[in-house]
C-alpha cells in the first residue's frame, strides 16, 4: 500500500514544481518595473568582449540611465543572428557588420543602420613570415581560410582584385576557418583571416614550440584589407525599419545612440577602466587579450573624421558593391539602408556636453602581449 503514496507524492511534487516554475518564469518576465526608465534591449554580434566595451561602459557609467533608459545588453553567440532578433522584436537595437545588415535587407528583413560606429575594417589576412606570402597576389593557388557565412566578402574581393576567383575556388583554395586559431598555429593553411583585435592576438599569445617563446609580429605577414582597398564597414548600430518610423522611437534612438557613443568616447580616454568593465561582465575572459582588443577596437573607431557614428558614404558605397558581388545580392544596397539623422542628433547631444566626437589626437597605445592572453 505504501508504494502508491510514494507514487502520488512524487507525481504531485513534480507537478507542483512545474506549476511553481511556470508561474515564476512568467511573472518574472511580466513584472517590468514601472519606473520612469524605458526598457531597451541591445543585441550584440558576439559574446561579451572588448569589441563591445562602449556599450558596457555606457551602462556601467550610467549614460543610458541619464538618458532615461534601462538597457539590457544581450551577448551574442554562434547561434544568434542579431538582425533576426531585432526584426523579431526581441531587441530594439542590434550590433552587427554592415555587410550582414545589407544581406539581411536583401532577403527582405526590415532593418536600418542608424549609427556606424567602426569606420575602418579590422580584417586582415595573415601568413607565416617564412612562407613569403606577404601580398594578396602571392596567394594564387594557396590555401586561404575564412569563417565564411558572410564574413568572407572582404577577403574574396581582395583575392578577386588579383585575378583569383574565390567564389568558384579557381586560382585559390578557400577553406572554412574554425573559431580557434589552432589550425593556423599548426600550419594547416597558407593564409588565414584574422581580426586585428582578436585572432591576430591569439597567434601572438601562443608560444612557438621550437623556441618556447611567444610568436611576435616579426614571425608574421599581416595584410590588412584596409590597405588592399577592399575594406568594408563592420560594427554598427541598427534597428527595425518600421519601428524607427515612429517619432517617439526616433527620440529614443537618438538618446540611445548618444549614450552609446559617449560610452565609446569614455573607452577611448579610459582604456584600462573599460577593460575592467568588460571583465566584470565576462569574468572568465583572458584579461591581457581584452586589453589588446580594447586598443585595437579603439583604432577602428578613432580618429573619426565625420565624428563618431556618422556613416561615411564612400566607405558605404564600397561595402555595398563588394557585398552585392560576393553576397550575391539581388540589387545593390542604396542609401535607404542607413540614416544619419539619428547619429547627427546624438552628436549634437554630445557636443553640448563638451565631448570630443572626432578623437583627432587619439593614438594607439602599445599593448604588451601576454602568454595565453592572461
Amino acid at each position: 500500500m505504501k508504494g502508491r503514496y510514494w507514487v502520488v507524492a512524487s507525481l504531485a511534487l513534480m507537478a507542483a514544481l512545474a506549476a511553481v516554475v511556470v508561474g515564476a518564469a512568467t511573472s518574472a518576465g511580466a513584472s517590468t518595473k514601472a519606473h520612469k526608465l524605458t526598457k531597451v534591449t541591445l543585441q550584440l554580434k558576439w559574446v561579451t568582449q572588448a569589441q563591445f566595451a562602449g556599450y558596457y561602459a555606457a551602462k556601467a557609467k550610467g549614460y543610458y540611465k541619464a538618458q532615461g533608459m534601462d538597457v539590457t545588453i544581450k551577448p551574442g553567440g554562434p547561434s544568434i543572428i542579431p538582425e533576426q532578433v531585432v526584426a523579431g522584436g526581441q531587441a530594439q537595437f542590434g550590433i552587427d557588420w554592415l555587410s550582414s545588415l545589407m544581406t539581411s535587407r536583401d532577403q527582405g528583413v526590415d532593418i536600418v543602420n542608424i549609427a556606424q560606429v567602426f569606420n575602418k575594417s579590422g580584417l586582415t589576412l595573415i601568413s607565416w613570415k617564412n612562407t613569403g606570402l606577404d601580398r594578396v597576389s602571392k596567394l594564387r593557388n594557396k590555401k586561404v581560410a575564412n569563417w565564411l557565412g558572410g564574413n568572407e566578402f572582404e577577403v574574396f574581393a581582395a583575392l578577386a582584385k588579383f585575378g583569383m576567383d574565390p567564389l568558384h575556388n579557381k586560382g585559390v583554395k578557400i577553406v572554412k576557418e574554425p573559431f580557434s586559431m589552432d589550425f593556423f598555429l599548426k600550419r594547416q593553411v597558407d593564409a588565414a583571416s584574422a581580426m586585428t583585435y582578436n585572432e591576430l592576438a591569439q597567434v601572438l599569445e601562443a608560444k612557438n614550440p621550437k623556441t618556447g617563446k611567444l610568436y611576435t609580429l616579426k614571425n608574421l605577414n599581416v595584410i590588412p584589407m584596409q590597405k588592399v582597398g577592399t575594406s568594408m564597414l563592420e560594427d554598427g548600430i541598427f534597428t527595425q525599419g518600421s519601428w524607427i518610423k515612429d517619432k517617439s522611437h526616433q527620440a529614443l534612438a537618438k538618446k540611445f545612440v548618444a549614450a552609446s557613443l559617449k560610452g565609446w568616447i569614455y573607452c577611448r580616454d579610459h582604456q584600462s577602466a573599460c577593460v575592467k568593465m568588460v571583465l566584470a561582465n565576462g569574468p572568465a575572459l583572458p584579461r591581457g587579450h581584452q586589453r589588446w582588443m580594447m586598443n585595437e577596437i579603439n583604432a577602428l573607431i578613432w580618429p573619426a573624421k565625420l565624428g563618431v557614428g556618422v556613416m561615411d558614404p564612400t566607405a558605404y558605397a564600397r561595402s555595398a558593391k563588394i557585398v552585392k558581388t560576393y553576397g550575391k545580392l539581388k540589387k545593390l544596397p542604396g542609401h535607404e539602408a542607413y540614416r544619419t539623422d539619428i547619429a547627427r542628433a546624438a552628436q549634437a547631444i554630445l557636443k553640448k556636453q563638451q565631448l570630443d566626437i572626432t578623437g583627432k589626437n587619439w593614438h594607439k597605445a602599445s599593448v604588451k602581449v601576454t602568454p595565453g592572453g592572461k
Binding site: 512524487s10 512568467t26 553567440g77 554562434p78 544568434i80 523579431g88 580557434s180 599569445e205 592572453g373 592572461k374
Partner: protein, 295 residues
C-alpha cells in the same frame, strides 16, 4: 529468540555495508586510475612515435589531466575574479536549475502523454508518429524557435532553456511509460477485472506501479539529456552565466587555454552524474517500497 538473533544480524549487516562501500570506493579509484593511465599513455605513445592519426597529439589536443585539474584552481584571468572552479560551480548551479526545471516539465509531460497514449488506442495511432518524429528534428533547430517564440511572450530567458531541455526529456519518458503500462501482468489484470475494478483504479493501482521500473529507466536517460538540452539551449538564449556560455567562450580561446574547456566539460559531466545518481536514489526509495518488493 528473535532478540538474540537480531544483534549479530545487525552487526553482520553493518560489516557487509562497510565492505561493499569500501569495494565501491576501491573500484571507483581503480577505474579513474585506469582512465588516467589510458589518457596519459595514449598521449605519451603518440607524441613519442609522432603518430598523426587520427589526430596530432600535443598539449592543445590532449592536455595533461593534471593540467586540467590545475586549471580549476587558477584564475582564468590575471588579477581580479574567482578561481575557475568557483566560477564553474556558479555556472554549473545555474545550468542545473535550468536542467532540473526542464527535467521536471519534460518528465511530467512525458508521463502524462504516455498514460494518455496507453489509455486511448486511437490517440496512440494518431499521435505516436509525431512524438517519434519530434525527436528526429535536431535540438539545434528547435532551440532558436523556442527562444524566439517564448521571448515574444516575455518569459524569462532561462525558462526558454528549461523548455528546450524538456524537449529532450519527455520522449524517453513517454515511450517507456507507454511500454511499461502495456506490459502489466495479464493475470493481475484479470484479477482486477474479476473484482470489477474500474479503468481508473486499474491504472492507478496496477498499471502505473507495474510500469515504474520502465519509467525510472527512462528518467535516468532523461536526467542526463536534460543537461545537454540546457547547455545547448543557453547559446541561442544569450545566457552567459551557465556552462553553455563558458563552453562558447573557452572554445574561442581553445588554442591558448585548452585546459579551461576540458575543465568545463568535466564539470558538465559531474553534473550529469549528479542528476543520474539523484534519479537512482529516488528510484530506490519509490520502487523498493512498492508492495511487491516489500513482501
Amino acid at each position: 529468540m528473535a532478540t538474540i538473533a537480531a544483534e549479530p544480524r545487525a552487526d553482520r549487516r553493518r560489516a557487509a555495508f562497510v565492505r561493499s562501500a569500501a569495494a565501491r570506493i576501491g573500484m571507483l579509484v581503480l577505474v579513474l586510475a585506469v582512465l588516467w593511465g589510458f589518457w596519459e599513455g595514449y598521449r605519451w605513445l603518440w607524441i613519442r612515435e609522432g603518430w598523426t592519426w587520427p589526430f596530432v597529439v600535443d598539449s592543445t589536443t590532449m592536455p595533461h589531466i593534471h593540467d586540467i585539474l590545475a586549471a580549476l584552481f587558477r584564475k582564468p584571468t590575471s588579477g581580479t575574479g574567482d578561481i575557475l572552479l568557483v566560477q564553474l560551480l556558479h555556472a554549473t548551479w545555474f545550468t542545473a536549475k535550468e536542467a532540473l526545471v526542464g527535467f521536471a516539465l519534460g518528465a511530467t509531460f512525458g508521463f502524462l502523454l504516455g498514460v494518455a497514449l496507453s489509455e486511448w488506442r486511437l490517440l496512440q495511432r494518431g499521435l505516436l508518429p509525431y512524438v517519434v518524429s519530434s525527436q528526429t528534428v535536431p535540438i539545434l533547430a528547435v532551440a532558436p524557435i523556442v527562444v524566439v517564440y517564448l521571448g515574444s511572450l516575455h518569459v524569462a530567458p532561462w525558462f526558454s532553456v528549461a523548455v528546450i531541455a524538456s524537449y529532450l526529456t519527455f520522449f524517453p519518458v513517454t515511450i517507456n511509460t507507454l511500454r511499461g503500462l502495456q506490459s502489466t501482468d495479464r493475470r493481475a489484470l484479470e484479477l482486477m477485472r474479476s473484482y470489477a475494478a474500474g479503468r481508473v483504479s486499474v491504472l492507478w493501482k496496477l498499471r502505473i506501479p507495474a510500469a515504474l521500473p520502465y519509467i525510472f529507466s527512462a528518467l535516468k536517460v532523461s536526467a542526463t539529456a536534460s543537461i545537454v538540452g540546457a547547455i545547448i539551449g543557453e547559446a541561442p538564449s544569450s545566457i552567459q552565466e551557465g556552462l553553455g556560455g563558458f563552453i562558447v567562450n573557452f572554445n574561442q580561446y581553445y588554442s591558448l587555454n585548452p585546459e579551461n574547456l576540458w575543465a568545463t566539460n568535466l564539470m558538465a559531466a559531474l553534473l550529469g552524474i549528479a542528476f543520474f545518481v539523484a534519479v537512482v536514489i529516488v528510484e530506490t526509495i519509490v520502487v523498493r517500497r512498492a508492495p511487491e518488493n516489500v513482501a
